[in-house]
């Protein structure tokens, strides 16, 4: 498969899988405001996933549209990072996962908005406005919970530590990422990682949270289709209807 198509699938799958995870909280958020925020973020991500997957399908040229790509691929054909498929856990997990992702997404898509590929740059510029808002919100809440009560601090620190090993994969470039970076489409890994570490460091300092070691051992595999056990369950729920009733429509 063409490297650009693979790269677009990674972008689309990250947004799609996280959107699905956040949608699980619809009607179950810990507070009304959070319920609305999480589902609005899910909606933004779903819209972005549609743009990326549609473009991937067009470039691939095998007649697969956004729906075919979302509903008719199995777990090993998904290219999202492991971070986004992790379960919602307690609210600190949901929030810290979001913050780690938003910060990376923001700098990545910010660079893509300046991409040499015109269509990628257009989708990125559109998405970046939404992602900026997401990151402001999740960063703000990490500070409030981290620098909140003893209990909220403890939960947030634990979530930050537990999810840390899933943050490295985004910066471990393989041949596909390198090819995109060399073509001026994607940002270089080192730049992206430095920006991410600096922003997470700033927010954690303000949140009185201890930053885990950047040199810690990191999980990987999602980008090439080797996922944690959680993705299969997520897809089973998301894809059931289209699998059981192919072509079902409103």
């Amino acid at each position: 498969m063409d490297a650009k198509v693979q790269y677009l699938l990674r972008l689309g799958d990250n947004a799609l899988v996280l959107s699905q995870r956040l949608s699980e909280l619809c009607g179950k958020g810990p507070a009304l405001e959070e319920d609305m925020a999480l589902t609005n973020v899910a909606l933004d991500l779903l819209g972005q996933a549609r743009l990326w997957l549609t473009h991937a399908g067009e470039l691939e040229g095998r007649g697969r549209d956004e729906d075919a790509l979302a509903y008719l691929r199995d777990a090993h054909d998904f290219h999202n990072v492991l971070l986004v498929e992790q379960p919602n856990g307690n609210y600190a997990h949901t929030l810290v996962r979001q913050f780690y992702f938003d910060a990376w997404h923001y700098f990545q898509v910010g660079a893509l908005a300046q991409s040499a590929d015109v269509r990628i740059a257009e989708i990125a510029a559109k998405s970046l406005k939404e992602i900026t808002y997401h990151l402001r919100r999740s960063g703000d809440l990490v500070v409030r919970l981290g620098d909140g009560t003893a209990l909220s601090h403890e939960y947030t620190q634990t979530a930050a530590d537990e999810l840390w090993m899933y943050t490295g994969e985004a910066f471990q470039y393989d041949a596909i990422d390198e090819q995109m970076a060399a073509a001026g489409i994607a940002p270089p890994a080192a730049t992206l990682r430095a920006q991410w570490l600096a922003h997470v460091g700033d927010i954690f300092a303000e949140a009185t949270l201890a930053m885990p070691s950047p040199d810690a051992w990191m999980q990987k595999g999602g980008k090439t289709g080797r996922h944690s056990e959680h993705l299969g369950y997520l897809l089973a729920e998301m894809q059931f209807l289209q699998r059981a009733y192919p072509g079902a429509a409103w």
Binding site: M36, L51, S127, K129, Q195
Partner: protein, 178 residues
């Protein structure tokens, strides 16, 4: 009724579009919202270029269908083109649209959007925790007081945030800057 091609001009099409209401906020039209970017008239067809507000906004398809329906009352061949770039911004809301929002109980965007041109100033500045929550006051659409506070960064639709007025105690929607 289908008009003769000779009568079909841009001004007429814009006027028809000014009657197409936003499905979420029916007091403003798609023209007020600033999502109609271009109208092209050729012989007996009309091409309307729309720019979506938010990537995932569920109203996007409803708006397309409404635009098509409104124009097909006059012209048979209606083409709708979706254009992403430049990305929609609340700076494109018309003054008329802002007044209508206010009258409807939704506070219009309180400031000009710095937009992604801020990229040149560095990505980090845009996500400072205080960016966009700064000193700009959002006046209450009910009583006009600026003694208001943000209760949630997201409201009932992706384009709105929730505020409450500390003077008249009413909650209200704020059409956030984007």
């Amino acid at each position: 009724m289908t008009v003769m091609p000779a009568e079909l001009d841009q001004a007429a099409v814009w006027a028809w579009l000014a009657d197409v209401a936003d499905p979420e906020i029916p007091v403003i039209s798609v023209v007020d919202l600033g999502i109609v970017r271009a109208v092209e008239v050729a012989h007996d067809s009309v091409t309307v270029t729309l720019t979506p507000t938010y990537s995932g906004c569920p109203a996007t398809h409803v708006i397309e269908a409404a635009v098509r329906e409104a124009l097909q009352a006059h012209v048979e061949d209606v083409r709708i083109v979706t254009r992403l770039s430049p990305a929609w911004t609340t700076d494109w809301l018309s003054d008329e649209g802002r007044r209508k929002l206010q009258g409807y109980g939704i506070a219009p965007p309180a400031q000009q959007v710095i937009d992604i041109s801020a990229l040149r100033g560095g990505l980090a500045a845009a996500v400072s925790r205080r960016a966009g929550i700064g000193p700009t006051a959002v006046p209450c659409p009910h009583c006009g007081s600026t003694h208001t506070e943000l209760t949630s960064q997201f409201g009932s639709t992706p384009c709105k945030a929730l505020y409450r007025c500390r003077a008249c105690r009413e909650p209200f929607d704020y059409f956030k800057c984007h």
